[in-house]
Symmetry: C2
């Protein structure tokens, strides 16, 4: 009953006139899994506070709701106040509680929209980021624009929709229950009413990578395992090298403990893909479909051998996805990916509007995304089946301590 004692039994005002029993929201939320974890079991809730934001190396949850916002005010104090309010609400929701405390005042709109009442916290994480456009002249942040927060170049094959790209702010909500992730984004958008507006949002229904070793590698909508090579949360030195920002000057000092998030909405022409032979599909990827093993042999987690030749040349085509995305072809670069499969209904010509919402956390997009994507976009055999329809880059500030607000170092 910690939910009740934590917030008090807020009383049953709804039917009070009829003398009904006292029933408030407290009882509903009491069922939530926000208790300390049993020793040895996996966490059921994550903490907003820490060296880094949650939702980066955190074990990848099943579902995603991602939203980019435009700031509607020019007032720096209003922006800071929003970040303060978002921080408080995010901490509450991640703990499995309502977004705000006042949810049963009869003559006010409830602080929380209610659709997550009775649901466990579902390992919710909420991660915040800042887009390049935030550093224009509106908020006095121009001299804090990190050099690495570039405008991504136009890559071959990009067909970007401005209405699915960029944004001043981003919120990534991941949870095992989509209703919990949707609830989080909705309540943050609501708190920001008048200060920010949703620019675009994206739901993802199935994760395509993991950051732990004890899980099966999930599959993307091409039917192949995805993210076999993903950075894992226990690879500390690689995380330091490839994910966390190493501040270098006054412009990015506020990003200590932070990262950069590359978000790309990648449509797949899955109907065309489905008509290719298994040989063709496996050749494009460079791995077997069933097991995910490199075509040079072995099992999923064996290293691919790009030199090993078969009758007709290398067993792994140098133009395959695995060859071109491999660290050996990218100056040793590794990615921490957090992508999700999406299906947004169907298109006007009756094809599924489906693909991969690619999310990757990198130490510097200039070294860790742009060169790789430049290469993939021009050489990758997979490219024939892909179209990038949305794109954004965000600076992800480091973690905070209780009492601070998200991104506080930027405004200090």
């Amino acid at each position: 009953m910690s939910g009740v004692s934590r917030r008090g039994l807020l009383g049953g005002i709804g039917a009070a006139g009829a003398g009904a029993a006292a029933i408030g929201f407290g009882a509903g939320w009491a069922a939530q899994g926000s208790e300390p974890d049993d020793a040895g079991s996996a966490p059921t809730t994550f903490d907003l506070y820490g060296e880094h934001q949650s939702g980066i190396v955190t074990p990848v949850q099943d579902r995603l709701h991602f939203a980019a916002f435009d700031v509607l005010t020019d007032d720096r104090e209003s922006l800071v106040a929003l970040l303060q309010a978002w921080t408080v609400a995010a901490a509450e929701m991640m703990a499995g509680r309502p977004a705000g405390p006042d949810i049963s005042s009869y003559n006010a709109p409830p602080d929380d929209t209610g659709e997550a009442i009775g649901l466990p916290s579902s390992r919710l994480t909420i991660t915040f980021g800042f887009g390049r456009s935030l550093f224009d002249d509106r908020f006095g942040l121009a001299d804090r624009l990190p050099e690495a927060l570039v405008e991504l170049p136009h890559f071959p094959g990009d067909n970007l929709d401005p209405a699915r790209s960029d944004g001043d702010l981003c919120v990534q909500a991941c949870a095992d229950d989509p209703q919990v992730a949707v609830h989080a984004v909705r309540n943050l958008a609501r708190i920001g009413f008048g200060t920010v507006g949703v620019r675009w949002s994206q739901l993802g229904f199935g994760k395509t990578s993991t950051t732990t070793r004890d899980e099966q590698t999930p599959r993307n909508l091409m039917g192949f395992k995805d993210g076999t090579m993903n950075l894992k949360s226990d690879e500390q030195s690689d995380l330091d090298e490839h994910v966390w920002v190493e501040p270098s000057d006054d412009r990015d000092a506020w990003l200590a403990g932070g990262s950069y998030l590359v978000a790309r909405r990648i449509n797949m022409t899955i109907e065309i893909w489905d008509r290719q032979t298994l040989q063709s599909q496996e050749g494009d990827i460079g791995r077997t479909k069933a097991e995910g093993a490199p075509l040079s042999g072995g099992t999923e987690h064996d290293d691919p051998d790009f030199e090993l030749a078969g009758r007709d040349g290398p067993l792994i085509d140098p133009a395959s996805h695995v060859a071109l995305a491999h660290p050996t072809a990218n100056n040793g670069v590794r990615l921490l990916r957090r992508g999700y499969n999406f299906v947004d209904g169907s298109t006007e010509i009756g094809r599924l509007d489906a693909g991969l919402f690619f999310l990757a956390y990198v130490t510097d997009p200039r070294s860790h995304y742009i060169p790789m994507q430049t290469q993939l976009a021009s050489k990758d055999r997979l490219q024939e089946y892909l179209q990038h329809t949305g794109s954004a880059l965000f600076a992800i500030p480091g973690g905070i301590a209780p009492g601070e607000h998200v991104g506080q170092a930027l405004f200090a």
Copy 2:
């Protein structure tokens, strides 16, 4: 290892040239939960065959992918062949197996698209239906058009998008894992390539009703419990009266054991709703938000008392949703609902494109939907926050025996 023995170990052709171990799809699928259930535990797979189709009174799964199709051919035999192929594939997928047997011939596209490899069957059900347009002059079915398969009238407040409405055929895939539901629709669409095209499709991420008594009533995006009064699978006489078709003539004799499915995409202006006081929200619904109890008192499953008066008149407003949708206001009509919450990103003005994808199975839409919706659309206080943006009605044929195909009685 029944997955392997059932379909044979299909061999590891991918890396054969390199002498790798034999690894086929069989091994991946062996992990699936298609085994007979342990005595006493809830089923993990459902059977395609039976008196009724699955996915109607079946315990409601968490996620939905719904698709409506247009038939692209005028050839009756091609349509029947498709239904035969769909039946076989649906039975396989519901059992947790691939959509087709040939998934590792190196020189052919795999029969299955692969993204559900390694996933359990997730209680998948696949339910098929026929729209009114199927009964035109293309397939010789005009004299089999049931009288109840009407064109739904235009209701006040309808703002229907033809690209989200109607269709010759429908497929409802429900599963606890959205990747499994998406996989089912995708593979059926693929099998139908050239014969049918997807007209529209809709994902739902959270169920809003149950057909069992041991589950919490889920919540819709207004934050209220939804479907408290839903018909339950053990109410046999009410199911007979309100859900299953009672054939009355030659036109609907083929619908024995079947039903009608009303599908409505109902957008909610949730940002506006969220600004209303709790009093206003509860007054609109006629129930408390926290508990779902009628405003006349008691707890969720107590009967509302529409006569009970408070200081200012009836405690439950006669224009509230619960009053207008209640059986007592609708000639005793009860609904078997199977709706889902949806969020399809955001609109051009930065609002969530969100709401309820309403699905209800009824014995006759003329008695069981049209009068109720006519009343709700003109009187319901909730209507201020709702806009119906998609609409379809399908005749859902009865169940089949092994060896038959879905809808066989229609073509007999």
